[in-house]
């Protein structure tokens, strides 16, 4: 069987955990979670178009404790991905590569994502 011998990314099971790699993996993880969140959003718009029975059914679920928990979780995931995305864009332009800077910007991203989620939902 012919196999592609192209390089693969480090296998996560044997990779030594560091703060920087954890944030990097979280970027991809939240990106993937966001695609599911996107599905939830489209379903919401679809149910609104289908009429009040569908919409109210969905809305009741979203307003429940589990529904709210899921929405807040998706919100954090989206916001984290956005802030960490800005970090990635800075790297694309050649800024912030120093280990100290990268760690600091990582902490800022984590802090901002939690703060923004809090602001969006509480205030």
């Amino acid at each position: 069987m012919e196999k592609n011998s192209g390089p693969l990314s480090p296998h996560l099971q044997i990779y030594k955990w560091q703060f920087s790699s954890l944030l990097s993996i979280t970027h991809r993880l939240t990106g993937t979670i966001n695609t599911v969140g996107f599905f939830v959003i489209v379903l919401w718009i679809l149910f609104l178009a289908l009429g009040p029975e569908y919409y109210n059914f969905y809305q009741t679920f979203l307003r429940s404790f589990i529904g709210k928990f899921i929405l807040v979780g998706f919100t954090w995931s989206f916001v984290y991905h956005m802030f960490n995305g800005i970090r990635h864009l800075a790297w694309d332009f050649g800024y912030g590569y120093e280990i100290k800077t990268a760690n600091l910007s990582g902490i800022i991203v984590l802090f901002l994502s939690i703060l923004t989620t809090f602001f969006i939902w509480i205030i």
Partner: protein
């Protein structure tokens, strides 16, 4: 081939920048919308700005997620056949969702 990869790289970044204000508007209105009933939600879309922002969000998010998931597949899947199948699923997913969303928006405003 080289230009193709470069195009993907650029589109991924441009769509990311475009999505930032759209996402913030979207999340901010979401919290408001969760507490509204059916007629309240319809009222929200009785406004061209909401419709335009939601439509742009659907298009750019679809584009961005297609490229992002494709990149993950490229990095972690070695088997060419499996890669091909997964890429087709991603293509379908990233196209169907925005189309369904936009058709729904059209039904809502009509």
């Amino acid at each position: 081939m080289k230009n193709h990869a470069l195009n993907k790289w650029i589109i991924q970044r441009v769509s990311a920048v475009v999505l930032m204000p759209l996402l913030l508007f979207f999340l901010y209105s979401l919290v408001d919308l969760v507490n509204k009933d059916y007629t309240g939600a319809l009222d929200f879309f009785d406004n061209y700005l909401s419709i335009i922002i939601f439509t742009l969000f659907l298009i750019f998010a679809g584009l961005h997620l297609k490229l992002g998931l494709g990149e993950i597949i490229e990095d972690y899947i070695q088997d060419e056949r499996l890669k091909g199948v997964l890429n087709k699923i991603i293509m379908l997913y990233s196209a169907v969702l925005p189309v369904v969303g936009i058709i729904s928006l059209i039904i809502i405003i009509l």
